[in-house]
Symmetry: C2
Subunit: 195 residues, 2 copies
């Protein structure tokens, strides 16, 4: 005798996301998710492969959300201003959703990797802005440099790694300004040795 479904994948992902944000990854248990959507934990396995699969689904929803945030931030016609706005949007998102953000660059096992196409879409607007700044040949390298810096910065900030005092907001702006200057083609200095 068929039975109507009592929950759904989107509902499960939303519940998992909510638990993740409030209690961290360790607090994200199948039993708490099940309780939140109103079933027993074994029933979840009809919709997701398991806990790691659920984490992947949550991570993908976070990627999409961050991508949307950065897209709206990339509107400024001046590439330096656009870079600044994107970087600030990136940081704001990370600080507002630290546990969700931590999923983005986590080392997941190969079989639960985030969909590569999603990641590509998420880096699109930054890649375009970096290209306007550094030129088309260096767009990829420039975008990687900015992303690496921004991710490293907020990760260290969230980890409490800035323990030597100083103004963290000022350090962030210092980083953007110097990166923007460094990525414009005229200031490139290559090779070894001092200038």
């Amino acid at each position: 005798m068929p039975t109507p479904a009592r929950t759904s994948v989107p509902e499960i992902v939303a519940a998992g996301r909510a638990i993740l944000e409030s209690d961290g990854l360790d607090g994200l248990t199948m039993q708490r998710v099940a309780e939140m959507v109103g079933v027993r934990s074994p029933s979840l396995y009809k919709r997701v492969r398991g806990r790691t699969d659920l984490i992947r689904l949550i991570a993908e929803s976070v990627v999409d959300e961050l991508a949307a945030t950065m897209d709206t931030a990339a509107g400024d016609p001046d590439p330096v201003n656009a870079l600044r706005t994107i970087a600030h949007a990136f940081r704001s998102f990370a600080l507002a959703h630290p546990n969700a953000y931590a999923l983005l660059f986590a080392r997941h096992p190969d079989d639960v990797r985030i969909d590569p196409e999603r990641n590509a879409r998420a880096s699109e607007s930054l890649l375009r802005t970096a290209g306007r700044l550094a030129g088309p040949d260096d767009a990829l390298e420039a975008a990687r440099t900015v992303t690496a810096w921004a991710h490293g910065f907020v990760t260290m900030e969230l980890a409490g790694a800035f323990q030597l005092g100083g103004d963290v907001d000022r350090a962030f702006d210092y980083g953007i300004d110097h990166l923007a200057a460094a990525l414009s083609p005229t200031v490139v200095r290559r090779g070894t040795g001092s200038p």
Copy 2:
């Protein structure tokens, strides 16, 4: 009747580190550590407060090891070359010990924070090099920019986030060269708007 100790904190930390490196943080269980040092898992609680405490001890040993590696790399008299060498040493360490490295900037609960003095000691040589490059006033900001970039880069590399092709080694050198140029005082561009 007194009994001679059958293990020690250093032995437990070493075993935990070995298990962490081979099997990741999830594989680091108290039972596996106990088995490796030759006791039953309850005995470990005579030496460490618990699993999170053990993880903190391991993380601190990793900090010390990375600090030593970077100290030896900071010898070059030319600050740009020193920065390059430090950055490469940093990346090599991360790629050689990915699971251990992941502990460094992880968000630990407050009661298991890594000893701040240890972290300060670890960033000393980079701070000095950054000061030689950017000047004493901007040493802290410059060091944070470099650390953030380097950490973000290797984290993304380890996470498999560089999916858009291109030469990752080249991207790393691109980043160092541009950062070194950007941090020297002459190329600073502040304020808003385009140049």
